[in-house]
Symmetry: C2
Subunit: 122 residues, 2 copies
């Protein structure tokens, strides 16, 4: 199963601070507050089988030179970089397929058309 990097917000920490901490812990990718922006909140009670959770999804603008710093954290088997055209074909956990589908429609509308076309002819 593949999932978007993420985790729980600690008490006393803003959601932005949690994003920087979790991405660093899980991928070793260096991010700063100016490189992240809020996308959308997901809160369907059935989105996580373990218990009712609310996720704030962020867009992170990484530096292509930092790709080489990608390294899995202790709680992951590996970390992978996936082309946007292929990401919806993965076995994604939780509601992450829904999230990425919404994200692609919002930021890459032309890619969303291609993905729709390829899935309807598959």
């Amino acid at each position: 199963m593949i999932a978007i990097p993420g985790g729980f917000v600690d008490v006393g920490e803003s959601v932005e601070e949690a994003v920087l901490r979790e991405v660093s812990e899980e991928t070793h990718l260096p991010l700063t507050i100016d490189k992240i922006s809020q996308f959308r909140v997901y809160s369907d009670p059935s989105r996580d089988k373990r218990r009712h959770t609310v996720s704030v999804v962020f867009r992170c603008h990484g530096d292509s030179n930092d790709v080489w710093k990608l390294k899995k954290g202790d709680d992951a088997k590996s970390v992978v970089l996936v082309p946007v055209l292929e990401v919806l074909n993965l076995n994604l956990g939780f509601d992450h397929k829904q999230i990425l589908s919404d994200y692609i429609k919002t930021y890459y509308p032309k890619v969303a058309q291609l993905v729709d076309a390829s899935s309807s002819t598959a």
Copy 2:
């Protein structure tokens, strides 16, 4: 003290369902899911003196005919409708002045300029 209508999400309820419920309870304004959209998440640990809370702020598109249905809920002294040009002059609770300032800059940039101009000459 004046505050934006809101409240806590119940376990088993999406944030969208919580918005419809809280607005109905606190203002008696009828809203439907198609009339609300997410604006931004506020999570600074110091934003609420009582404890660390995270708020998902929504934009609600009301029907002007429904203004007459506005009626305070049990936990409020009154409910008021405030012109956007005047809202930042109110004694707002929590970080609601920050929220409304961000909101006006995003959706009413020309009003934001007017408000800035009037506060710098006051």
